[in-house]
């Protein structure tokens, strides 16, 4: 593979990994905010 192609796929790979982590952080944040309303 060309170096530019490797750079492109690795960058996209890191982006998708970041998206997954953002989903986890989102779940945590929403849960923390929502639990305040539960008695």
């Amino acid at each position: 593979m060309k170096k530019i192609t490797i750079f492109y796929t690795v960058t996209l790979g890191i982006f998708w990994e970041a998206v997954y982590v953002m989903v986890i952080i989102g779940v945590g944040l929403v849960s923390a905010l929502a639990i305040q309303y539960i008695r």
Partner: protein, 501 residues
Amino acid sequence: MILKPQINDIKNIGYYLGRIILGIGLTMFLPFIMGIILFREVNPALDFLISANIAIFIGVTLSWLCKTNKELHAGPAMVVIALSWLAAMALSAIPLSLSGHYKSFLDACFETMSGFTTTGLTLVQDLDHLSQSHNLWRHLGPFLGGQGIAIIAISFLVKGTSGSLNLYLGEGRDEKLVPNIIHTARFIWAISIVYLILGTILLGLVGISIGLKPQSAFFHGTCIFMAGFDTAGFSPQSPNILYYHSLIYEIVIIFFMVIGSFNFNLHYQIWRGNFKEIWKNIETRTLLFVIMIVILITMVGLRQLGVYSDGIILFRKGFFQLISGQTTTGYMTIYAQQFIKEWGELALIGIIISMALGGCACSTAGGIKMLRVGIICKAFRQDVKRIILSPSAIVVQKFHHIRTMFIEDAQVRAVLIVTIGYFFLYGLGTLIGVWLGYPFLEALFESTSAAANVGLSCGITDTSMPAILKITYIIEMWAGRLELMSVFALFGFFVAYLKGK
């Protein structure tokens, strides 16, 4: 009949052990050079020169005395791995012991075993005044141990693919990224180095934005990244992540903790363009599911006692500790005593469950691992289907991990053996903790943290704890990191030597 190991087996073990010790000695030149050139700390740097010379002398002598061209078989490879982790602990403890920041050599050994196994429990005294060279060495331990001590040797110092493969498998990893094991080891380094550069820059910039001086920000960034990505949890300052008082810093750390707990094979697939794998893989799906369950338990526990009044604080304290436990990192944004005095039993149980289950297989994380949890759940589902459906029905259960596979009984058996082994380890440490007078839940928390290589502490880990508990936790960290099998192989080797014919 048990066969006694031959002299050639012992020579083979000695040769490979010598090469790994040589590799450990060579890595000590990094804090030495950095200490002299960058930190301008001559005396602390000399500790590394002394220790490196000792390690290199032992490594070269052992390799020379036991020189062999024979390939290393699976059994002796496991013995090499088990011994090399003990050797790494003892030799790496020399510079830390020379620093004068450890009460005893045992405490320094505890620290290095905690570092290499990516646990993060610490016994250092006056951390805030520890030299930067020693601090770098503390954080370099997880970076080397997280990828695997054998990975260093396979990448640079050992020839022959069969022996290398057996060493690789002995470190509790059973997945090759590419067919060639040397290329697999180098790719693991490539992933770690790419993230090291990215993480250091990102944490350095965030550090500057919150008021740290540039050199300090990048030093902290490097240390925090190495201990975060490698799921260790060491920090250059005694209040751990609480020192930074920054939500952005905490979110960046959460990012690297989760990424660090990913399977290296998953990284490889995603980096090759197979982006859908992250959503299809059994490990990432199980991780997301488990996190949702433990969030519910922990948050309800914290809410019940009204520990944190604000949602954002609940996120920064509750969720951060939870992710730190789940990824087996051990970073903390609260003080250790707060777990016991404030959190209550339900929230603690949530954290203990997350620590016990751990991150993904073939990663730097510890614990039972998501792949095993996923397979056990699928096998359970398969058995329930067998009961419900007609006896003549053929029930198959699939799961996706890099490729689609079917659940097999032999696979479930292997998974259950290791899982039971982990529960045995958690129980053993708890039993000894309770015997020494600690309350049950605290003993369980600390034992699970040690055996699952987490590093969260509820306050038991301290320089004043009994030596027997320090040794127990060292054994737990060592056995937990090697997923027990190499440790059993080492004991089996000794038994065969003493009783074999």
